[in-house]
Each structure stands twice: as structure tokens, then as C-alpha cells.
Amino acid sequence: MSTIKTTTFVVGQVLREIAVPLRVVGSVPEKALLRLDALSVRLPSRHGEVHAVRHVSLSVNAGECLGVVGESGCGKSTVCSAILSLLPDNARIDGRILFGGKDLRTISSKGISGIRGREIAMVFQDPMNSLNPVRRVGAQIADKIMVHKGLSRGAALAEAARFLDLVKVPAARERLNDYPHQLSGGLCQRIMIGMALSCEPKLLIADEPTTALDVTIQAQILSLLGELRRELGMAIILVSHDLGVIAQTSDRIAVMYAGEVVEEARTEVLLKDPKHPYTQGLIEASPGIEPTVGPLVTIPGSVVSLLGAPSGCAFAPRCRRANDKCGRMPPHLEPTSMGAMVACHFPNGWTQ
């Protein structure tokens, strides 16, 4: 009897251990590298307070790629800025941002500068504007390495060349002496990624890293990010408005709408079986490369204003399934089958 019990126990434990990495949402907080806990951001504006991010809870495990997708104004970039404490001083932030168990919001600004750039690095959309136009790129990368790793300038430059090699910049050593205007957009973005990686961060936040680039270069950069992730074992938060870009690179996708996460699931699950009507609309509205017949499916209307809080579901005015309950009560993220999370009173496949 006891053997059976032990065996069951062991099997159960093994199953649980297998299940943990498969588990989708951050129900195992100690495994998560970064966890956002009911993060809210309010930004003052001329017309009143903008509630840009509302109760966003997300987690990223070590080595994982989380894709965050949504239309302009959905709060995806504000979330990134909040993680790195880059929001303006007058922003009102609530909730917790746990990185490796520490709440980044309680850390002093000095402590943050030790984490920002070193443990969490960021790549922005416009590489040309992210680099200083009047300094050689090598010096700019070396600066960062000198600050974070305490190396001499010579050693830092050698290190910079090593990282440019890593991101496949051709003739890396010569490129160190170039100014940003001498380089193409794709090359600048590679340099930005090389710079971000130069301190071997645990988490890379890439905010629309390929939006300004041509498709061929975009494909190169995305496959580079994938390779680097596997080689260095770092986690990536990839933010984009392009579901195609997100679908190709991410393990898991969080869909944001009007400052909230409305759905979160593993990539295959989300694309095959979207639960939220917004996710479904987003997938249907994205023209594929497959032939299409008839007009594209659209989501009527446009994104709501984030001034003041909507009384019910923020998507209700554009939703074909919305009824008076949606107008009254805001839905909360709740688990569904297949480990997905959805914030909708009437998700796809919903039955009473």
C-alpha cells in the first residue's frame, strides 16, 4: 500500500514538474523572472488624467519570449517604460513590479540604474534616434560597458567589438569608428541590440524593434533575436502592433486593449482558438499571405479614450456580442481551458 502511495506521489511530483514549464500564467511566482502585479499607470494631461495602464498582471519566465500586441494607445509601451522606471515623475503608479523577487518600485533610483541596462535592457523602435548622432558608435557602447562592468576604455571597446560580432554586424571592428548617420537603419538596430546585450541582461525589452525597417531586414532582426535568446538564455518581452511579428517569435502572447490585458495564452492556442472578440477581430483583420475572398473583416469604430474609467468593458462599444452586462461590469482576466486567460463576459465558446 505504501509503495503504491509513494509511487503515486513520485509520479505526481514528476507530472507537476513537467507541468510547471507548460503552465501558462504566473501561478508559480518564484519561477517568474519578472512579474507585474495589478500594475496601473495614470498620467496627467491637459484634458485630465489618462489611465494608460489598468491593472495589468503579467509574468515572464527566464528564457521565455512574451509577445505583447495591441493597437496604438493600448498602453503597451507605457508598461515597458514602467518596468524600467522611465515614466515621468508626475505619473501615478500602482501595483507591483517584481523582478527576481524584488519590487522595482521600492528600489532607490540609484539601485534602478544598476538594474536598468545591466539586468533589464531595452531596444526602441527608432534606432537612429536612440543613438547619439555626434559620437562614434563604438564609444557609445563602450561607455555603457565601462559604467556597468568597470572596464577600462580599451577593454570596453574590445568587448563592444565582440558584441557587434555577436549580432552579426559585418566588419565589426571598423564599424566601431562610424557615426550613426553612416549606418543603415538595419545596422543601427543591430548595434542597439548589441549594446543592449553588452551587459548580458536577463531580460530584453524590445519595443517595436523592427517597425521602422524593411521586411527583409525585419526578418533578419527577428531571427537574430531568436538565436540570441537561445544562445544567451535571456527572456524577451517583444512589443508590436503586428500580430504576424509577434506570432513568429513569441512563446506566449498577451493582447492589450485600452490599457488592459484582455487575453493571454500560448501562441498556438491564441492564434488557433482566440477567446476574446478583440483578439479574434485582430486576427481576422490582419491580412494573411494566403489568398482572401471578399472584404477584410474589420473591427468597427476606433479605440476608446483613456480619460476616466469606462464603466464596463472597454471593448463593449466595438463588440458584436456586447449586451448591457458588458456596459455595466468590467470583466476580469479569468482562466479558461488550455491555460489561457481572458477578460470577457462572453468569450468564444461560452455557454451558460
Partner: protein
């Protein structure tokens, strides 16, 4: 309706000259468009695709006569655009409109959108006793689904709505040809689909022809009848949309297709065609022979020496590549 194409461009070239510096008398010459020939039929959409710097926007501007070609001829309804002057020029020009990517800089920020549309109607003298310019303006706004927005300023509208205004303005001028330069690239997906649908609907209703410039092959597949792929100022492949997507012959076209980040499983990474390496070469000193040879996976000796000409691959499909096994006189070998 006649069968003559609405617009033909024959051997169109456009070079830009840059001084290399105050004391350097040698000029840098960039051939932005080099020997481009195409025809656009009535109610047809021809897409120009390619990377930035491939010359697609310059081709669009040349087609409208907004820019004079260095050589070559553009004919609109059989009239040579460079020979038109004064009233005749203005009359043709009215039928040829353009929609830009950035709708906020294409509209006057200090005028209501209604006044802007009325202005073009009166400039072209389109109003008569039956239809006042105001009626025509309201009509145009109604057609794009923005009836009643005439008193708004561009800044009060969203990007998608502003793009609708640009379309309404083109419609108000009774445009027959609209050059759309990346009209939906700056828009969110859900709005992008609305604008694409509107363009298709207007084409069906008014028989418009579009020269649709885009880098997004997903939108192109949906909207266009034919596609011309451009690389460093030249058309390297041109065919019906279905042909381009299902049977691409030029290695550059294949590479472009492989790079499309599509949701459908077909293009998930480790795709069939390897990604092309490197970037567009300096257009001031294009490579010898085939312009694509520096990035081409199939490159042979001949590609480095001889520039391939567009050859007929049958069924309205032309391609400029030595490796397709097509001779320049058409037909396979």
C-alpha cells in the same frame, strides 16, 4: 469603356544629382528609377512593392507628372504628360490624385476638412447650378462614411478618419487614377482593414485605377490585380497577383515573400526559402551585372557581368533573372 490602358509608362528613368562637396566637382548620381515600363488599365490596381530605396515612390510621382522624368514617357489616356500645359494639364491632373502615408501632413491643419474639400471643388470649377460645391463636398464625405464631419479640423480626427478625408478629396475631384503611397502603413490593423475595404469599394463603384505603393505584401495580396516588384530602381518581376504569390520566379520576390511575418503557419521561422542576407547596396554605385547579385542565393558568373532584361515567362508574367532559364525573346529554353 475602351481597352486602352489608362496610364502607360514607357522606359521611365529618373536620376538625382548630388554634389559631393564644395571642392569636389564630381557629382554623385543616383538612378532612382531606371528603365521602368508598365501599363495600368481602367479599374485595375497595380501594386509596386520593394524595399525602401527601390524607387517605388519616385515611380508613383513620375506617373502623376509631379516630377519630370530624366527620360521616358508617361501617357495618361494616350496623352503625353510632358506635352500638356495650362488648362489641358489642369484638366487631366484633376483626374490623377495621390494619397500619402502621412495623412496629417497632407491636410491643412488650419482649415476644416469640409472647407478643404470645397476648395478643390471650386479651384477645378466642378460645381454647377444643380450641384453646389457644398453639396458635392457633403456627397464626397458621405461616400467615405464621414458624413457630418465637415466642420472638424484634421487634428480632431483619427489617422484612419484623416485617410478617409484624403480619399474623399480625391473622389470630389472625380479622380480616375489614384496613386496610393503606403496609404495604410501608419494605421492600426483594424483601421487598416477599414481603409483597404473602402478603397476596394470605391474602385468597384467608380471604376478607379490605383497605383498602390506598399512594402506590405499582405495588403498587396488583398488589394491588387497585378504586382510589380522593384529592386534598386528596376522592375525585376511583374505578374498577376496570384502568380506572384504562388509562382514567384525571381529570387528577390521569393525572399520578400519569405520575409513576410504572417500569422498563417506557412511562414513560421525555418521557412523554406532562406532569408536573404545583407542590405540594399548604395544606389549611387549599383553592382555590375544583375543588381541583386550581391544578395542572391543563386548567383552565377553571368549574373556578375550581364544585366538580365525582363523576359516573358508566359501569361503576362515577366521576370529579369538569368537563372530562370528564360531567354530574352520569351519562352523557356
Amino acid at each position: 469603356m475602351n481597352d486602352l490602358p489608362l496610364l502607360t509608362a514607357t522606359k521611365l528613368s529618373r536620376s538625382f544629382f548630388f554634389n559631393r562637396g564644395l571642392f569636389n566637382s564630381k557629382q554623385r548620381i543616383v538612378k532612382a528609377v531606371d528603365d521602368v515600363t508598365f501599363a495600368l488599365g481602367r479599374s485595375e490596381t497595380l501594386a509596386l512593392v520593394g524595399e525602401s530605396g527601390s524607387g517605388k515612390s519616385t515611380t508613383g510621382r513620375l506617373a502623376l507628372g509631379m516630377m519630370k522624368p530624366t527620360s521616358g514617357v508617361v501617357r495618361y489616356e494616350s496623352q503625353d504628360l510632358s506635352k500638356l500645359h495650362g488648362t489641358a494639364w489642369r484638366r487631366s491632373r484633376r483626374n490623377m490624385q495621390m494619397i500619402f502615408q502621412d495623412s496629417s501632413s497632407a491636410l491643412d491643419p488650419r482649415m476644416t476638412v469640409g472647407a478643404q474639400i470645397e476648395e478643390v471643388i471650386s479651384v477645378h470649377g466642378l460645381a454647377d447650378k444643380k450641384h453646389s460645391s457644398r453639396d458635392l463636398m457633403m456627397d464626397a464625405l458621405d461616400r467615405v462614411g464621414l458624413g457630418g464631419a465637415d466642420l472638424r479640423y484634421p487634428r480632431e480626427l483619427s489617422g484612419g478618419q484623416r485617410q478617409r478625408i484624403a480619399i474623399a478629396r480625391a473622389l470630389a475631384m472625380q479622380a480616375k487614377l489614384i496613386v496610393c503611397d503606403e496609404p495604410v502603413s501608419a494605421l492600426d490593423v483594424s483601421v487598416q482593414a477599414q481603409i483597404v475595404n473602402l478603397l476596394v469599394e470605391m474602385q468597384e463603384k467608380f471604376g478607379l485605377s490605383y497605383l498602390f505603393i506598399s512594402h506590405d505584401l499582405r495588403v498587396v495580396r488583398h488589394i491588387s490585380h497585378r504586382v510589380a516588384v522593384m529592386y534598386l530602381g528596376r522592375i525585376v518581376e511583374m505578374a498577376r497577383t496570384f502568380e506572384i504569390f504562388e509562382n514567384p520566379l525571381h529570387p528577390y520576390t521569393r525572399a520578400l515573400l519569405a520575409a513576410v511575418p504572417a500569422i498563417d503557419s506557412r511562414n513560421r521561422h525555418s521557412s523554406r526559402t532562406p532569408l536573404i542576407e545583407g542590405e540594399l547596396p548604395d544606389p549611387a554605385s549599383p553592382p555590375s551585372g544583375c543588381r541583386f547579385q550581391t544578395r542572391c542565393p543563386l548567383v552565377h558568373d553571368i549574373c556578375r557581368q550581364v544585366e538580365p532584361a525582363l523576359a516573358d515567362a508566359g501569361g503576362d508574367h515577366t521576370v529579369a533573372c538569368h537563372m530562370t532559364g528564360l531567354s530574352e525573346n520569351g519562352g523557356s529554353q
